[in-house]
């Protein structure tokens, strides 16, 4: 009884969220102004974009206030800051593209920033829909197998004829009515629901040691089955779609969730072993995996060929140094895919080490806040689901930024919230929407204010 009274005046922290959100929006506005001042980007227009982005964020904040008043106040501002920085960099790269077209005498290309802004709108609508219609995250547990099936279907959609589309050697996209979408991004949300729902019911049986192989406790076959199933799916994605990043992410995600569900470290050991075996096989069997790995070890041996992307990325980072060249002062357009996979190099060049540390701290805050929601929520499904979603964002950030900075082999994924690309933005806004929903449940008082007042009166008597 008294423990409840400790939370007697629960602060919603919504005003803090609003203030931080305005701060995040201003970061984007100042970045935008600096880009316009140092390039010819002003001719591309864009003040309406800034204002509409601000209005969108304000509306979203209003919905959070209404639907999830006790939600974590840091998640949305951090995400908004990343999104605004991403928009500014895409705007800056649009300016470079326009300049290049002008010098070649070709017609100016359509700026990508407007499409990204549209996707931001779609992402925030998805966020609002999730927040409004998923009143309680536990309802998602009922969708476990539906979500699992949906995840697999989404993952393999790009392999279908007609709608499937190959870009840069990877078959990750589907194209419907001229709109391209990467269903793998949504699949990771669906599969997290499936993993959480599947594992939460079996975590006790999975924790039982059936027999030991090489000193590692192995549970019963029907419990191990799903692990191998997912491993196989991840490998299939890798083989059929040549998508190293997504398969690595899914595999890492499932290993983490197994570990959290069962509390057994042997799963991590087994997962690492399977990753090593899978990696070794992939290296032997597939030329593109071998190239990625060799380029990782010796990028400068083929600086103008396969190593070009990573070498240009490193040159960009070196040009930025500690403080960066400043918005519009560097040459981020020299790095291939600067708007998507390599946006970190672009930001690292113009904002420098200081800028990248700030960006990585934003990701760290998102991870910490997601984990906090995972810990604080009161149901096992919520625990597992929230840490799964947090892992998706954290691991994806690590895989892609580690790849473009040569910490790990380059596999190709979008940087959450920063990169150009609608599927990624929408999927990640959905993830944040669910995390905010869970954090709201975790932080909300279990009793109403009226009850509190009543009890207080009783206590004082």
């Amino acid at each position: 009884m008294s423990t409840n009274l400790i939370r007697y005046r629960v602060s919603t922290r919504r005003s803090a969220e609003l203030a931080l959100l305005i701060g995040a929006w201003l970061i984007g506005v100042f970045a935008w102004i600096l880009v316009d001042a140092s390039t010819d980007a002003a001719s591309l227009g864009g003040w309406t974009s800034l204002v509409s982005a601000g209005v969108l964020l304000l509306i979203t904040h209003g919905v959070v206030r209404w639907q999830a008043p006790y939600a974590d106040p840091l998640l949305l501002p951090c995400v908004a800051a990343l999104n605004m920085l991403g928009l500014a960099m895409i705007h800056r790269l649009d300016a470079a593209a326009a300049q290049r077209a002008a010098s070649n005498g070709s017609p100016p290309p359509t700026p990508d920033v407007y499409l990204q802004l549209t996707w931001m709108l779609v992402g925030l609508i998805a966020f609002i829909v999730v927040l409004t219609f998923v009143g309680d995250h536990r309802r998602l547990q009922r969708l476990t197998f539906t979500a699992g099936l949906a995840g697999i279907v989404l993952l393999f959609l790009p392999l279908l004829p007609v709608i499937g589309k190959e870009v840069n050697g990877a078959q990750l996209w589907i194209s419907i009515f001229g709109l391209t979408f990467q269903p793998g991004e949504l699949a990771k949300v669906a599969l997290t629901i499936f993993f959480a729902g599947f594992l939460v019911g079996r975590r006790h049986s999975l924790a039982l040691v059936h027999r030991k192989i090489f000193g590692i406790g192995i549970p019963r076959g029907k419990d191990v089955g799903p692990l191998f199933l997912v491993w196989l799916v991840a490998l299939l994605v890798l083989i059929l779609e040549r998508d190293l990043g997504t398969s690595l992410l899914l595999f890492g995600l499932f290993t983490v969730m197994l570990y959290v569900a069962t509390g057994r470290r042997s799963w991590v050991v087994l997962g690492s072993l399977l990753l090593a075996v899978g990696g070794a096989f992939a290296y032997r069997l597939f030329g593109h995996v071998q190239i990625r790995f060799d380029v990782w070890l010796r990028p400068f041996d083929d600086a103008n060929g396969n190593g070009y992307q990573i070498v240009q990325s490193l040159y960009g980072l070196a040009n930025g140094g500690i403080f960066g060249t400043g918005w519009g002062q560097g040459y981020p357009q020299l790095v291939p895919f600067a708007k998507t996979d390599f946006i970190t190099s672009a930001l690292g060049e113009e904002l420098g080490l200081m800028g990248l540390i700030a960006i990585l701290l934003l990701f760290a805050i998102i991870v910490e806040r997601g984990a906090r929601a995972a810990v604080a929520t009161r149901d096992p499904f919520g625990n597992l689901f929230a840490i799964g979603l947090t892992t998706v964002i954290g691991l994806q950030t690590f895989i892609v930024i580690g790849g473009v900075t040569r910490l790990v082999p380059l596999t190709g994924l979008t940087t959450p919230f920063l990169s150009y690309g609608g599927s990624s933005l929408v999927a990640n806004y959905i993830i944040i929407g669910i995390l905010i929903r869970i954090s709201n449940a975790a932080r909300a008082p279990e009793i109403t204010d009226a009850e509190l007042v009543l009890r207080q009166n009783v206590d004082t008597k």
Partner: protein, 482 residues
């Protein structure tokens, strides 16, 4: 589950920390190395994003940057094409820079520490940073006359103001058009460079500075200077001048160029020996005064010294410890004596400047981006090569060479010109090198000049007077505005 969640969170935060450490390593510790890599276009793009300063002769610009619409925002152009190439060098995206473009790069690119205040102003005024300019000592008329007179023949011309050491002309032929290498078309630059590099005529070689050849009879000036400085000889000293002279310890007979005796009774004065370029007399003189005296005299004129004008010139050499026959040959500028055109111009300049050799230089002023003068070059002496009175004697002897002797083609009407020709034998069978060194006017000298045509510049009959002297006359006339 809570403990596992905390561990997973810690692991992810650790991964993010690993990213920060790795990025710090790249952006702080590897950055200087990465920036310096040859494949890194950013260095070039940054350099080409500012307006590079001009190279000026007076107010005329011989290398300038013009804005473009490309990624490389400025194009380096050389309006006079090949004429000033030996001075400016080139500035290329692919092959770096040479000449003044290389030597004065810090000023031209605006990286010089003296521009700190300018940089601050540019920063606050939000103006595009711009490099400083460099003003050279080159006299466009003299340089143009030299390039025109060389007319594509393989050779070099150096003209110097003897009183200051300022280089008035630095001509190399055949030359090249630096515009061919400063364009922004990489493939075109590469093919142009490879073509120039493969050309047996070596158009990119800076001959007046880099090419050292036997100076032949022009070196007799050094031998004569050594003789005068010894105090044992003057212009009227009697020297033996037979048709041939036996080189001691050998059967080799050294003869005169015309196979004749130099004077009646095989005797000739020093003055006359220089006028008709008597080999036997100078060979004898060389053996008399010795290799040490000649070598020391040569050093006082600049042999064995490294000149940086600011481009480094090849060091001119006098042989070490020659025996008697070698000394005799060295005294007439053969054997292992090697001199650059710059060096022989310094010999003439030293004689003209009352015996004092001034340090040669090309850059007269460094200018800021707004063309305010940052630094003026103060002429500095290299050293005294001979006594003033001996210099006067040698000067008069050289005027005699032009008026009465072998250098008739160097005459300029109304002006007393001093000079000495040379026809230097090289490898047997190859055509000789044609030389001329001289100055004008004899009193109050304004210009000293050295001309060399390698292997006679392709002429059938090689003679310093016929081939080199007219070039020198043209350059001197231009320098004197005649």
């Amino acid at each position: 589950m809570i403990r596992q969640i905390n561990r997973v969170t810690a692991a992810i935060i650790f991964l993010l920390l690993a990213l920060i450490i790795n990025i710090s390593y790249i952006q702080v510790f590897s950055a200087p190395d990465l920036r310096g890599q040859s494949g890194n276009q950013r260095v070039i793009l940054t350099e080409y994003s500012h307006e590079r300063g001009s190279i000026l002769l007076g107010s005329q610009s011989i290398a300038e940057s013009t804005p473009t619409l490309n990624a490389l925002k400025y194009l380096r152009t050389y309006p006079d094409e090949s004429i000033f190439a030996p001075v400016t060098g080139f500035y290329s995206v692919l092959y770096g820079a040479t000449g003044i473009e290389y030597e004065a790069n810090n000023v031209l690119a605006g990286n010089d520490s003296r521009f700190f205040v300018d940089r601050l102003q540019q920063l606050f005024a939000n103006r595009e940073p711009k490099g400083g300019a460099v003003r050279l000592t080159i006299d466009p008329a003299a340089q143009t006359a030299a390039m025109k007179a060389l007319n594509g023949r393989t050779g070099a011309v150096v003209a110097i103001d003897p009183t200051t050491g300022a280089i008035l002309a630095l001509a190399s032929s055949p030359s090249f058009d630096p515009n061919l290498l400063s364009s922004h078309d990489a493939a075109q630059i590469q093919s142009n460079y490879e073509e120039l590099d493969a050309d047996p005529e070596q158009p990119m070689l800076n001959r007046p500075l880099a090419m050292t050849l036997p100076p032949g009879s022009t070196f007799k000036l050094v031998t004569a200077a050594a003789a005068l400085e010894s105090g044992l000889y003057n212009a009227t000293s009697q020297l033996p001048g037979p048709k041939e002279i036996n080189l001691p310890g050998t059967d080799v007979q050294l003869g005169n160029w015309n196979d004749k005796s130099c004077g009646a009774d095989d005797v000739i004065t020093l003055q006359q020996a220089l006028e008709i370029s008597c080999n036997t007399a100078f060979a004898w003189l060389g053996m008399e005064i010795g290799d040490t005296a000649i070598g020391d005299q040569a050093k006082k004129f600049g042999f064995e010294s490294q000149f940086e004008v600011p481009m480094s010139a090849a060091i001119s050499r006098f042989p070490v410890d020659p025996n008697q026959p070698q000394t005799a040959m060295s005294a007439i500028g053969q054997f292992d004596v090697r001199a650059s055109a710059l060096q022989m111009a310094l010999v003439a300049a030293g004689i003209a400047n009352d015996g004092v050799v001034m340090k040669p230089y090309l850059v007269s002023q460094l200018l800021g981006p707004d063309l305010t003068v940052l630094q003026n070059t103060t002429p500095a002496p290299f050293g005294r090569a001979m006594k003033s009175e001996n210099a006067k004697i040698l000067r008069d002897m050289m005027v005699g060479v032009v008026q009465n002797g072998t250098a008739s083609k160097a005459r300029i009407s109304g002006i007393a010109v001093g000079g000495k020709t040379g026809t230097a034998e090289n490898v047997p069978g190859d055509p000789a090198h044609a030389w001329f060194v001289g100055f004008a006017p004899a009193e109050g000298t304004k210009v000293a000049v050295a001309v060399v045509l390698q292997n006679g510049g392709g002429a059938a009959e090689v003679s310093g007077n016929a081939l080199a002297a007219p070039i020198a006359a043209a350059v001197m006339r231009a320098a004197l505005k005649q």
